[in-house]
Subunit: 138 residues, 2 copies
DNA sequence: CTACATGCAAACCGTTTGCCCACTT
DNA sequence: AAGTGGGCAAACGGTTTGCATGTAG
């Protein structure tokens, strides 16, 4: 009855405290890209005692373990999401802050090709499209 | 004998003080993507008195005026480069910190198409390829 | 039982801002 | 001469860390 994210944590050798379980669950349940503050708020709903420092520490651990991905969408704080099998990039509606996930195989391939062209191997990338609703002027 | 970056500043209504001229020149002369500290260091070589707050203020001004572009390559501080006619994206060698500029029209077009597909207009994007030398393992 | 995790508050670090003086226009 | 810009140091906001205590393995 361990969740799959908890299993991953244990595989990576993490000591699973109550707090870490809760934080892992919050991330796993999230449908969005919460920042640390938000993860903290959600965690607190399940166990009042969790400190924000623990959230920071755990999120870093999860990031290092390759279980979550840390994003920086340019608003000054980090946002997190669980790494699942499906890779995707992000489209950010700058009017509303809404974030849409998308995949485009062609772009993915082109990226690898570009890296190769310069003699490198692509190990990571960041592609973010900042957009506004089609009809609006500014 | 005004440099073209200075001309742009004046067009945008900036009062051109000695400090701003120097900072503009530093940016214009830069072949790399200096952070604020680095711009400050280079500026100081031409006029010992420039304060770092002025560098921050001027860089922000230049960014707002669309004369420079502010980048965040994930190392915790902002980096700047002059906006010229050539648009390009960045390839970052994570082993050395070296930054290579590249353009790929096909990727550019695909981005516009993706935004459109979701009903948006692309106003900005960020594409960064994090790479390592082709032969190295990690 | 011991090494490691937590909570709290203080420290950090890049960046911004208030204040008062200096300079551009 | 008037109003904007600059320098300094203090404030800020997100994140990290030292320390004493608690807890998973």
């Amino acid at each position: 009855m361990l969740s799959k994210i908890e299993k991953k944590c244990i595989e990576r050798g993490m000591k699973m405290t109550e707090q870490r379980k809760i934080i892992a669950k919050v991330i796993s349940d999230a449908l969005d890209h919460p920042d640390v503050e938000e993860v903290h708020q959600r965690a607190i709903k399940e166990d009042t005692g969790i400190g924000i420092a623990t959230v920071y520490r755990t999120l870093r651990l999860l990031d290092d373990a390759g279980i979550v991905e840390k994003h920086d969408f340019g608003d000054g704080r980090a946002r997190y999401e669980e790494i699942l099998d499906d890779h995707h990039d992000h489209l950010i509606n700058v009017k509303t802050g809404e974030i849409i996930e998308f995949v485009d195989d062609e772009i993915e391939k082109l990226q690898v090709a570009i890296a190769k062209k310069y003699g490198f191997k692509l190990i990571d990338h960041r592609l973010e499209l900042y957009v506004i609703p089609e009809n609006e002027s500014n």
